[in-house]
Symmetry: C2
Subunit: 333 residues, 2 copies
């Protein structure tokens, strides 16, 4: 295992320290409870958005904290759920009196712990809504998940729900939008190589030097099939056809497309993947109205990519274009 | 070799096609001459900035084309200089009558070809200034370079010079700023793994499973020394001390810091590296006034990182904060 680190035990804290110093104008890091929150919060009267999960998926979620996206993100150890007390502390820290939305990727530990945290906060009079993201079409049930896993659509949900919360929407409205986004988003991933969890010290799984795995999870959970390395065209076809048929997406639909790198894949390959995806979408009559291409929900040092398509309407596109200022996403039209 | 591609021959064109479609609002891609230019150019009366080089370093340079940065970027084959006719076509396409600055990383092919292109353009009455970037303190002379190599400071130069050009500065002023930035910026890189050039099909060099190389070039050119993998603290010390002593940076200096991933290194490790760098800078009395942490000048799929420090004054910081809208850097304060 070769990592840029001092030792596995300190890795998360040291990375959080780096984040805290690099983005001191935007973020505060609570090292006791290991969460990152907006420096300008809590914002009175605004619905607050809290997410979180195991670390190793950066910039998810800490990189999405800031104006127009999340109010706080809880950081678990690598590929390990944060604890309920982290989530409770984050929720209390960002509550501005208008309630808090928990955006939770569907992994058993995350779901259980966010549920417990929500109950603790509700007992203290904070309104909490929870939306479970489960957009990965690759497999039903998985190593850490009952049902489908939550992946790339989560990034898009955090952007869109963050925008509507910024505009003053109430908790029910923000939660309803998040459920709609989850219902209209579909994803699938693939790996060329395994990731290596620092504390484990060896690859999570083994892939031959001419093999790939289609439908991989972001923790290296098994996908649909392991097979010989195929061309980018074949890979994108294998990932996008199940996505397109699942919703199903229909001719005339507008989508936001996310071509996501798993952490060890260079940008030039992701643009090449986008080229393939764009042609397939066009062939199905879909218009890619907006796109993100880069490392947005990663799996440590895994080489590979994932594709997310989210069916959108004009209102969602307006929310997409709304100002955002976080470490990983930043724009103002 | 495992890459997300169809075949090595088409890789660059297909990635350019992806870029063209993803950023059609910002960029035009000239596939005949393989350059990317601002969709809203040429801009009459504005000094135009042109850079370029071998592909495989994305987002450099194509990702930096747009308002407030480059007017055009020429894309050579992987790790191969663009040709003079590409540079000539790009220069003519973006010339708005106020002259064109060529920002050239110091690699022999790039320097020769940009020089030839500049002469061709000057013969047709276009004023061209050239600045050679050579900020890499690792080695004197190299596989493709006489003198020092040009690396991370180039990214910062493109941002700052793009900003001053946007404000209406004349060609001499923009070129002079670029020379000053090159004079005040220093970089060094390191690798945990080799990159693999698609057309070659095997790693550029071999590193043992417990080895790293300090002072690596962005094409895998040899660095200062190959040694056993060290801690992040030791690695950052080995990279930053030669940087700090070379300028030399002095107590009280303000800097822009770039912690750059080589393409195969996850963001969490880069934040950990930034944490180390920040402490070392603090120990030397340096203030990191601004920072970039991520993949900005890469080496295909190489795992590793580089550090760049640029000494800045208040005027440079204002240029840094000025609006920018490119695929890879985007903000408006």
């Amino acid at each position: 295992m070769k990592k840029l680190m001092n030792n596995p035990t300190d890795m998360l804290n040291e990375a959080l320290a780096g984040i805290a110093m690099a983005h001191a104008d935007l973020l505060h890091v609570d090292f006791d409870h290991r969460f990152i929150r907006r420096a300008d919060g809590p914002i009175s009267g605004k619905v607050a958005l809290v997410s979180g999960g195991g670390s190793g998926h950066e910039p998810l979620h800490g990189g999405y904290v800031g104006m127009g996206m999340l109010d706080a993100a809880c950081a678990g150890e690598m590929f390990t759920s944060p604890t309920p007390d982290q989530m409770e502390a984050a929720t209390k820290a960002v509550n501005g009196g208008a309630g808090v939305l928990h955006i939770v990727k569907n992994y058993t530990g995350d779901v259980m712990n966010f549920e417990m945290a929500a109950e603790l906060c509700q007992m203290e009079g904070i309104s909490v809504e929870t939306v479970i993201m489960n957009d990965d079409v690759a497999v039903e049930d998985s190593l850490y998940t009952a049902g489908r896993r939550g992946v790339g659509t989560t990034v898009l949900a955090e952007k869109l729900c963050g925008a509507v919360a910024e505009q003053g929407a109430d908790l029910q409205t923000v939660a309803e939008l998040c459920r709609q986004i989850n219902a209209q988003g579909r994803s699938m991933g693939m790996a060329l190589t395994s990731c290596t969890v620092p504390a484990v010290g060896k690859p999570t799984f083994e892939l031959g030097s001419d093999e790939m795995e289609i439908g991989i999870g972001i923790h290296g959970e098994p996908g649909r099939r392991r097979m010989k390395l195929a061309s980018a065209h074949e890979i994108v076809t294998m990932m996008s056809e199940p996505i397109l048929s699942d919703l199903p997406f229909k001719s005339g639909d507008q989508v936001i497309a996310l071509v996501n790198g798993m952490g060890g894949t260079p940008l030039i390959e992701l643009y090449l993947i986008y080229n393939e995806l764009q042609q397939i979408c066009k062939g199905h009559g879909l218009t890619i109205a907006r796109q993100l291409i880069g490392n947005y929900i990663t799996s440590l040092d895994m080489a590979g990519c994932s594709i997310t398509l989210l069916k959108v309407d004009a209102a969602m596109l307006q929310l997409w274009d709304a100002p955002v200022h976080t470490p990983a996403l930043r724009w103002r039209v």
